[in-house]
């Protein structure tokens, strides 16, 4: 009786456990293969969709290549830029190439991607393969943004003569900088995008009456070309000191290296000693709603701008 009961027990247990194992494996296979949607890293907005091959991160070491596509869902042609968000404020020695093209410098933490055609037309999807390179270690979180290419700020950002300063402002630098702008029938030089506004400098120097010697004026070209590798080499601006305020740019021309001087941004000079000349240029701050209607920023063809869209 005991043996018979034991047999029945083991047979029943075997059947139950076999059935359970079979059902479990079937269910697991079904579940593990289940896929309501493929988990792609993407940005999905009303106006556009960006699909990344992997994650939205890239670095300059092991993971320096990204592939992504943009669908322009808008009825109009849109321009896009890849934004490299980093904890590092200064991005020196950083380069990119798009679709194995030429190596370009990342000037302002953004990479221009160009046009994507209107939705429903040929070219409403673009594929990009971008390689980032640097001798420095950088890590970036990626974003893709549509860009209004007609804005003056877009022209500045697209320039290869700008750099990103330590607090995230975009500034022109280098020799023969094409940053000329006609504004209110007057010629200005664009300094850059500072605190989200476009800063211009009047090209006319105004002496403040202290040792007003015009041939010692530091020119803006001198100032801009003094930047080497995106850092101001003070020694290359010989005996000249400058600081920009909200409304003025002040220049000191110091003819004796041991001079001491000071100034305020309201009244100009608080004390000037010995052989020092002080000059100023007016600063103009523009909101980021000016469109370029003409010109290429050269001294012969300065940018012409119109207000608003």
């Amino acid at each position: 009786m005991v043996i018979e009961m034991g047999k029945r027990f083991y047979i029943l247990l075997f059947v139950i456990m076999s059935a359970s194992a079979l059902l479990l494996s079937l269910s697991y296979a079904s579940e593990s293969g289940r896929n309501d949607e493929v988990a792609l890293a993407e940005i999905n907005k009303d106006e556009y969709r960006v699909i990344f091959s992997n994650s939205k991160k890239v670095d300059t070491k092991d993971n320096n290549k990204i592939e992504f596509g943009i669908i322009n869902k808008s009825d109009e042609i849109n321009n896009f830029a890849l934004v490299l968000n980093s904890d590092d404020k200064v991005l020196d020695d950083l380069y990119y190439s798009i679709n194995s093209g030429s190596k370009e410098t990342v000037t302002n933490g953004m990479i221009n991607l160009g046009e994507v055609q209107a939705f429903g037309t040929e070219g409403d999807f673009n594929f990009y393969s971008i390689e980032i390179s640097s001798n420095n270690d950088y890590e970036f979180n990626l974003d893709v943004l549509p860009v209004d290419v007609n804005l003056l700020s877009s022209y500045i950002k697209r320039s290869k003569q700008v750099y990103l300063d330590s607090v995230g402002n975009i500034r022109y630098y280098g020799e023969n900088v094409n940053n000329y702008l006609n504004y209110n029938n007057h010629l200005y030089r664009i300094i850059g995008i500072v605190d989200g506004k476009i800063k211009l400098l009047d090209t006319t120097d105004k002496g403040l009456g202290i040792f007003n010697v015009s041939d010692q004026y530091p020119s803006l070209d001198d100032y801009l070309s003094s930047f080497t590798n995106r850092k101001l080499e003070v020694n290359e601006v010989l005996n000249k000191r400058s600081w920009m305020t909200e409304i003025r740019d002040y220049w000191l021309v110091d003819n004796n290296s041991d001079n001491v001087y000071g100034a305020t941004d309201t009244d100009g000079v608080i004390s000037v000693m010995k052989n020092v000349g002080l000059y100023r240029r007016n600063v103009v701050i523009l909101d980021d709603i000016y469109n370029v209607s003409n010109g290429d920023g050269t001294i012969l063809h300065p940018y012409e701008v119109t207000y608003g869209s």
């Binding site: 359970s20 479990l24 269910s27 579940e31 593990s32 293969g33 429903g120 040929e122 409403d124």
Partner: protein, 172 residues
């Protein structure tokens, strides 16, 4: 007395096993019900699930429009104990080259090709070629559409695709 004690123990074990079986049955019921639209196959330890429940007839579309359509999800799970190399090959049920030349194929909403530009294998077109480690799963989202400039005759053709997994040698 000894017999009844043992019997009691056996009954308890059987009841517990039965409860376990009922639990498994409920899990299986919901898991399989969830996938009733999917086609599940098992090829030599490679479990393939195809969900094309939302796919409609091919339309003439731009690439952007095509990528905004629903697609087929193709999922492979490697239940082998070793890494496996595989290819996913698609076979259209139409062989008219003029029609096939007008078909665009996208993988994972990112890589787009003309169907006829894809590498051929045994009369089909390779859409994926990869290695899969033991216990891992690869997923593909596949979409098809006709080129926007396709003529009326082409647009009237309704192509359906058969999927075949070609398992190749893998690491031991």
């Amino acid at each position: 007395m000894v017999v009844s004690k043992q019997l009691k123990k056996q009954i308890v074990i059987e009841v517990v096993a039965l409860i376990f079986l009922i639990g498994v049955l409920i899990y299986a019921f919901f898991a399989i019900k969830k996938n009733e639209e999917n086609k599940v196959t098992n090829l030599d330890g490679m479990v393939v699930v195809i969900d094309d429940s939302k796919v409609t007839k091919l339309k003439g579309l731009s690439d952007g429009e095509g990528l905004e359509e629903d697609g087929t999800t193709y999922t492979i799970t490697n239940n082998n104990k070793r890494k496996v190399d595989y290819k996913v090959v698609i076979f259209p049920d139409i062989h008219d080259e003029e029609v096939l030349k007008q078909v665009r194929v996208s993988i994972n909403d990112l890589y787009i090709e003309d169907l006829t530009d894809l590498e051929r294998l045994n009369g089909g077109y390779i859409i994926a070629s990869n290695s899969l480690d033991s216990g891992f799963t690869d997923m593909y989202l596949i979409k098809y559409w006709y080129k926007d400039n396709s003529n009326k005759e082409v647009l009237e053709e309704n192509i359906e695709f058969e999927y075949r997994l070609v398992k190749e040698s893998g690491e031991k």
